[in-house]
Structures are given as structure tokens and as C-alpha cells.
């Protein structure tokens, strides 16, 4: 078995664009779920709205920077529309409302009847052309062996991780402010915060919209990956993967989401390589096509073990995770 090749695959995928997208999606979700305690099970919808907002705008002939603004505004609006009626309700209602909304939006975008606007199941291409046009990196492949990217992917990776760093600083600044403290307090006891004159609803709405906009950024970076958007990526599975990344990295930590994303993609990729090599053309009861499924079984098992033995994730504070009422 070639373990070296598997490791190289892992190293490549942990910095590649999907990892950036997961880190961004998880940063947004971490503000909502981690810091504010809001169970958003449709966080991928903000990515969809961001990506499609930008793509549709470009498709209609607008420049990309306008498209990006439209995409992010649409993600903010989505957060507002979802948050206004549901944030006053109990946490489980929010979870149900958000997962439904995310599915509804995806099905609508996927509709063949809207093909002229959204591209239907085929999606939209060309949204990232303006972005690649300003790419300063000369054409070519960069890296060694299978650890290499073409100039456009490398450009997206560099811009993407820069945005991740900026957003981490942003979250760090918020978390250490009185606003961040209040958000933590609301997560722990809403009624107590209300009894002290804090407008809990407004605070939750702010956190929700903020997380939604960052989800929109994740969607736009996703579009930059291949230069196209398709509805397939924006399934609920992606939201759950973002949850996994947040929990893996450490809920309500600043660096948890990027660390979680990097580790997640490294593990997934190495497992994929190893399993492909081990199973080959068939082994025991497994067929070649089963590697994907086994990979996720192993990831699921890891998460269960992680939650049992290290609920605070990789970076979380043990006390923070276990201190009771």
C-alpha cells in the first residue's frame, strides 16, 4: 500500500478550495450555533443564495463585484426573513424552519421551469470569469506531483484563505467585546438576559444575519472553484458536514472552524486514498463503489468517539464544554 500517496492527497485536499468553503461555512455557522446557540440546520441555504445571487447577476450582464454585493445582500436578506419569524420561538422550531427553508430554496433553484434564470439542474457557468481575469498568477501548474493546482485554483485558494484569516480576526474581535459576552450570556440563559434589560431578539437576529452573510461568502468561493454553480452542492448533507467541522474544531472557538475544516478534509482524503487502495477491485464484502460510504461510516464513528471523549473538540475549553447549570 502506498501510504505516501495517500498523505499527499490529504495534504492537497486540506488546503484546496472545498476546505476553504467548509472553513467559511463553519465560521458562519459557528457564530449562529456556537456563539449564539441558534440551531440553524439550513445554513447551506445562505451559501446557495450567495452563490446564485452573484452568478445570476453576472449572467444578466452585471460585473462580478456587483454580483458579489447582490449575493451577500441576498444572504443577509435570507437571514432576516428566516430569523424574524422564528427567533422568538423555541430552538427546535428554528431548526425545523431553517432545514425546510433550505430544501425549498434548493428545489426552487433546481426547477427546470426556472432554467432561464438559475440554469435549473445544470446550473450557471461563467460567474467567476471576472475573478479569474484579475488573477495575477501566470498560467501553469504549481506544486509537486499530485499536490499541485492550476493558476486559477491557486488564486482562489489564496484569496479564500485570506478571507478566512480576516474573518477569524473579525470573530476574535467580536468574541472579546461586550457584544460577544452578551451573546454568550444569551446562549446560556435568555430569560436572565431579558431580566437585565437586554434586547435578546435583536442580538440573536444580528448573529443570525451575520452568520448568514458569511455563509454567502462560502457560497461565492464555492462558485469560484470550478467557475460554476449547481444545486447539488447545497444539500442538507453539506450543512451537517459544516456542523461536523464546527464540533470537530471546537464550538464557540475562533480558530475551530478553519482547524476543523483542515482536519476534516485531510482525514476524508487520506481515508479515501487508503480505502481505494485496500479495497481495490473488491475485498471481503466490499466493492470498489463502496469506498465513499465506508469513508463516511468511519467519519461518523470518529465523531461519536470525539463527542464522547472530547466534546469540546480540538481547540475548545474542557470546562466550557462540561460545566453544568
Amino acid at each position: 500500500m502506498n501510504l505516501g500517496a495517500a498523505l499527499v492527497d490529504g495534504l492537497r485536499d486540506m488546503v484546496a478550495v472545498p476546505s476553504v468553503v467548509y472553513a467559511l461555512g463553519a465560521i458562519g455557522l459557528n457564530i449562529q450555533f456556537g456563539f449564539a446557540g441558534l440551531l440553524n440546520f439550513g445554513s447551506v441555504a445562505s451559501g446557495l443564495v450567495g452563490a446564485y445571487g452573484a452568478s445570476i447577476a453576472v449572467d444578466q450582464g452585471l460585473p462580478l463585484w456587483v454580483g458579489v454585493i447582490i449575493g451577500l445582500a441576498a444572504a443577509a436578506l435570507l437571514g432576516l426573513l428566516l430569523g424574524l419569524p422564528t427567533l422568538r420561538l423555541r430552538a427546535d422550531y428554528l431548526a425545523i424552519a431553517t432545514i425546510s427553508a433550505a430544501e425549498i430554496i434548493r428545489v426552487i433553484v433546481n426547477s427546470a421551469r426556472l432554467q432561464d434564470v438559475t440554469g435549473g439542474p445544470i446550473g450557471l457557468t461563467g460567474g467567476a470569469d471576472d475573478f479569474f481575469a484579475v488573477n495575477p498568477i501566470p498560467e501553469g501548474r504549481y506544486g509537486w506531483g499530485s499536490f499541485s493546482f492550476n493558476q486559477n485554483t491557486l488564486w482562489t485558494i489564496l484569496v479564500g484563505w485570506t478571507i478566512v484569516i480576516v474573518l477569524c480576526l473579525f470573530v476574535w474581535g467580536l468574541a472579546r467585546s461586550p457584544w460577544g459576552r452578551l451573546l454568550k450570556a444569551v446562549r446560556e440563559d435568555e430569560d436572565a438576559a431579558r431580566s437585565l434589560g437586554k434586547n435578546v431578539f435583536k442580538l440573536k437576529l444580528q448573529a443570525f444575519v451575520l452568520g448568514s452573510v458569511i455563509g454567502g461568502i462560502a457560497g461565492i468561493i464555492f462558485m469560484f472553484d470550478g467557475g460554476f454553480v449547481k444545486p447539488d452542492f447545497f444539500v442538507s448533507q453539506t450543512t451537517f458536514n459544516w456542523y461536523l467541522v464546527v464540533i470537530l474544531g471546537g464550538v464557540a472557538t475562533v480558530l475551530g472552524p478553519p482547524v476543523g475544516a483542515i482536519v476534516y478534509w485531510f482525514v476524508i482524503s487520506v481515508l479515501n486514498s487508503v480505502l481505494t487502495q485496500v479495497i481495490g477491485d473488491g475485498w471481503w464484502i466490499f466493492d470498489t463503489t463502496d469506498t465513499g460510504a465506508i469513508r463516511y461510516v468511519l467519519v461518523g464513528l470518529t465523531i461519536v468517539l470525539l463527542l464522547v471523549f472530547r466534546p469540546q473538540g480540538l481547540l475548545g475549553d474542557k470546562d466550557e464544554a462540561v460545566i453544568g447549570e
Binding site: 467585546s177 454568550k184 450570556a185 440563559d189 436572565a192 431580566s195 437586554k198 451575520l210 453544568g324
Partner: protein, 306 residues
């Protein structure tokens, strides 16, 4: 508590009229009229299920009223949201102390301060806007922490405090919110005798700092020790008010605790027998069954005043 600049109004600080609230067919709260005198300590007593906590919840916006009006400091605050009620100066605590377990004791108190610049999202990322206020509030919070005897626990997470210490923390936090009226829901519930006296002393200090106190309590020793006025509720209504002595000897009050005319309440009589005993026992000390499991540290009352 330096806020003594409010209008030297002599009228009652809180006036409630016709406040009622039903659950199913039961009128949980049905208060025709109630006033709280400014600068007084008022106890709200009554048997279990009398509607005291529901009345608290309604007044503070935690529960909707079916009807009625209540005026606070002359302003109509009926039906206001809970946070709005707190902002005008009606701050409440809860029957089981509700602290923010993962925040430090100091942050628990500091959080309660009003008008914090850094709590606005637009200025949260600019520490120079809020840093000075934050430091000043920290000093004030530490002072209040010491005032309730939690001076050596300021950096501990509130989740590590005992039940009684949480009650003290809640009191400090309530005072930090600069209330005109502090509404304490069973401040002594779950507090062991060692902390009890400290808590009583602190509550008694509040009127001198311009804070009127309205509190719900079961323990008649507590009630007669610190209250100027006692109001008794039963089946949602106010059935008596006056000094502790007057109310304790009022036949309607005794009736309410014993069961009186209502068959449903008769079952409650056994449960309430100890309370009635205390009503009649002159100068009796609280019996040993009052003590609870909470530990007794954190009582370093160093005399610091807010």
C-alpha cells in the same frame, strides 16, 4: 446606586389595576389594585399556587396579561416586553437563581450594566469606543461582588458557585442593572442559614440606596424581619395587606393557608401547617428543618457597600 437624581416623587412607585391572567379556566392572577410605596420593602406572601410568581411574571413582561394596567414611576408599562420593563427600572430575579454559568462572577455582574457601548454590534470591533466604560463597569461590578461577599470569587465561573452564592450573585447583578424597583422571587429559597443573614442584611440596605424592593417569600421569619409592608395573595387575589403582624393575624390569611371555604385548598393545609405554626409562634427561631444542602462558604461580608 449613586442614581439619586430621579424625581423626588412621593407617590407609589408601582400601581397595578385590574391585572388578571387565566390558564384554562383558572384565574391565576386577579389583582384588583395594588400599590408599592417608594423606598419600602414589600413582601408578597401566600400559599403555593396563589399566583405570586405569575403576578411577578406579568408585571415584568415575562408573561402576557389578559387585561389590566400597571404604571411604574408614573409611566404606563402594561404589556411591555421583558427587556423594556427592565430598562425603565423594574428588574427581577428568579425563584431558582439564573446565573450565566460559563461567565465569570465579575462578568455576570458587569453584564447587567445598562447602556454599554460595546454591546452595540456597530462598535463591538472598536475597543477604543468601549474600553474605558468597560473598565469603569468592571470596578463597579467588583465592588458589588465584594458587597455581597463574593470578593474572592470574582474570577471564578458562576457555574461553580453554590445555590446560596448564586442568589447573592443575582442580587449583585440586579443592583448593577440600576433598578428603581428590584423584584426578588423567593430570594431565600435554597439559601443555607449562614448566607441567609447576609442576604437579609443586603436586601435591607437597598431602600437606603434608592431601590424599592418587592419580594416573594414563604418564610415568615424572613418576611417579618425585613418587610415594611406585607401583601398576601390567595387564588390570584390580594386578600390582605399591612404590617407583618396585621397580616399574620388576619383571619382571611389564616383561612387561605388552612384551606378555609375552598375544598381544593384543604389538601394544602397539611403541607402548609408548618407555616401556620410559625404565624402563631411568637419569637420562635427557625427550626432545623429549614437548613438545606447548600454549603456555607463565601460569607466574607467585608462590609463593602455599593
Amino acid at each position: 446606586m449613586s442614581d439619586t437624581t430621579h424625581a423626588p416623587d412621593d407617590g407609589p412607585i408601582l400601581i397595578a389595576d385590574g391585572v388578571h391572567r387565566s390558564f384554562g379556566g383558572v384565574r391565576a392572577v386577579d389583582v384588583e389594585h395594588m400599590e408599592v410605596e417608594r423606598g419600602s420593602v414589600v413582601a408578597l406572601i401566600g400559599p403555593n399556587g396563589a399566583g405570586k410568581t405569575t403576578f411577578f411574571n406579568v408585571l415584568t413582561g415575562f408573561e402576557r396579561a389578559d387585561g389590566g394596567t400597571w404604571r411604574f414611576e408614573g409611566h404606563d408599562v402594561s404589556g411591555q416586553a421583558a427587556y423594556a420593563a427592565a430598562r425603565v427600572g423594574m428588574v427581577r430575579t428568579f425563584q431558582t437563581a439564573r446565573v450565566f454559568p460559563r461567565l465569570s462572577v465579575l462578568d455576570n455582574i458587569r453584564l447587567a450594566a445598562k447602556d454599554q457601548k460595546g454591546e452595540h454590534l456597530r462598535s463591538a470591533l472598536f475597543p477604543w469606543v468601549w474600553r474605558r466604560q468597560e473598565a469603569a463597569l468592571g470596578e463597579r461590578a467588583a465592588e458589588l461582588g465584594r458587597w455581597v461577599g463574593l470578593g474572592d470569587k470574582l474570577e471564578d465561573r458562576a457555574g461553580t458557585l453554590s445555590g446560596g452564592q448564586r442568589k447573592l450573585l443575582e442580587l449583585a447583578r440586579g443592583v448593577m442593572a440600576a433598578p428603581r424597583l428590584l423584584m426578588l422571587d423567593e430570594p431565600m429559597a435554597g439559601v443555607n442559614p449562614a448566607l441567609r443573614q447576609l442576604l437579609l442584611d443586603k436586601i435591607r440596605e437597598l431602600p437606603g440606596e434608592g431601590i424599592t424592593v418587592l419580594f416573594v417569600e414563604h418564610d415568615m421569619d424572613v418576611v417579618s424581619a425585613i418587610s415594611d409592608v406585607v401583601v398576601c395573595m390567595a387564588e390570584g387575589r390580594i386578600i390582605a395587606s399591612g404590617t407583618a403582624g396585621q397580616v399574620a393575624s388576619d383571619p382571611r390569611v389564616i383561612d387561605a393557608y388552612l384551606g378555609g371555604s375552598s375544598g381544593d385548598l384543604r389538601d394544602m393545609a397539611d403541607e402548609l401547617a408548618p407555616v401556620v405554626d410559625e404565624l402563631y409562634a411568637d419569637g420562635r427561631t427557625p427550626d432545623s428543618t429549614d437548613s438545606d444542602g447548600t454549603d456555607s462558604d463565601g460569607t466574607d461580608s467585608d462590609g463593602a457597600r455599593p
